[in-house]
């Protein structure tokens, strides 16, 4: 079981099973809400995820018509991204996971929107859109 928490530790969560699909998102929304060069998300079946504590502190922001993002109302830690088009999956901010989840990022997405001051130097595949992956 994989566990994680926000910075203030009031919100803790657990994920059953392994995390497999991890990617770096360079879209402008992720960069701005995470305050980072890119966001790193792990795709997790929603049924495998549960809050262990602090669920009453989880705040939701609707960043677009079809995307919601959750964060801790006490410390501001970014937690998840949830897409209406993928009701069975949630995207977990990998930075909040405890220890080494053993999974590794496997691609970059929305690289066309990447920060101009950040150069991707690894060999992972880079995709402009989700459809480019297929």
């Amino acid at each position: 079981m994989i566990e994680g928490a926000c910075l203030c530790d009031k919100i803790q969560y657990a994920v059953d099973g392994d995390i497999e699909d991890v990617s770096h998102c360079h879209c402008s929304m992720c960069r701005r809400i995470h305050g980072a060069a890119f966001a790193t998300y792990a795709a997790v079946p929603r049924e495998n995820f549960r809050w262990l504590s602090g669920s009453d502190l989880v705040k939701v922001y609707r960043s677009s018509d079809t995307v919601e993002r959750t964060f801790c109302g006490n410390c501001g830690s970014a937690l998840q991204a949830l897409f209406e088009a993928e009701p069975d999956v949630l995207y977990l901010a990998l930075g909040t996971i405890n220890g080494d989840p053993k999974c590794r990022p496997s691609y970059h997405i929305f690289v066309g929107s990447k920060a101009p001051w950040y150069r991707i130097t690894d060999d992972l595949p880079q995709y402009e859109t989700w459809s480019d992956r297929s």
């Binding site: 928490a5 926000c6 910075l7 203030c8 991890v22 770096h24 929304m29 960069r31 701005r32 809400i33 995470h34 305050g35 980072a36 060069a37 890119f38 966001a39 790193t40 705040k59 922001y61 960043s63 993002r69 959750t70 964060f71 801790c72 109302g73 006490n74 410390c75 501001g76 830690s77 970014a78 937690l79 901010a93 990998l94 930075g95 909040t96 080494d100 989840p101 999974c103 590794r104 990022p105 920060a115 101009p116 001051w117 950040y118 150069r119 130097t121 690894d122 992972l124």
Partner: protein, 169 residues
């Protein structure tokens, strides 16, 4: 180079701010607190003296969280965007995520700090100096020390030239 300003905001736009340049430094922080608070692999910060940051809107939406005995992190309570970081250990600077400003500032990221605290799932293969240790800014290898000193020297020269330009104009 003359002084200039850059604008910034959180994702939802409730918090808007303006930063006057020149900046003090810019780098990628791999410390566990930044990674967890921002939910990211690392956070790219730039720093300015506090007087050079002006919050234009959203003071009521800006929440401050005491992340340590000396540190305070501010975020937007509407969208959760993690914004400013301040420390009593460094009272003459406020750190701002480079991702939250529009347009370039006066420098690119110059180094990695707290690099030895980095997430196990992060791949870093650029040639920026890698700093770490208890303070987060100790060169980890001799080559990092050389690169770090070189980066500081270049920055010092640029700052001197900028100051000279400002005196002439």
């Amino acid at each position: 180079m003359s002084s200039s300003t850059v604008s910034g905001s959180c994702l939802c736009g409730a918090v808007r701010f303006r930063v006057s340049l020149p900046s003090l430094f810019c780098g990628h922080c791999h410390c566990s607190m930044c990674r967890r608070n921002h939910g990211a692999a690392f956070v790219t910060w730039f720093a300015v003296p506090p007087a050079q940051l002006e919050v234009l809107a959203g003071r009521n939406e800006l929440r401050r969280y005491s992340s340590s005995t000396h540190g305070t992190r501010s975020f937007c309570s509407c969208c959760g965007s993690s914004l400013f970081c301040e420390s009593e250990k460094h009272p003459n600077q406020v750190d701002i995520p480079l991702a939250n400003v529009e347009g370039p500032i006066d420098r690119d990221p110059q180094f990695h700090f707290y690099f030895d605290s980095r997430a196990p799932w992060v791949l870093v293969s650029d040639d920026l100096p890698r700093l770490g240790g208890p303070t987060g800014v100790k060169p980890l290898e001799p080559k990092d020390a050389i690169k770090y000193v070189a980066a500081l020297a270049v920055r010092w020269i640029r700052d001197v030239m900028s100051a000279s330009d400002r005196k002439r104009t």
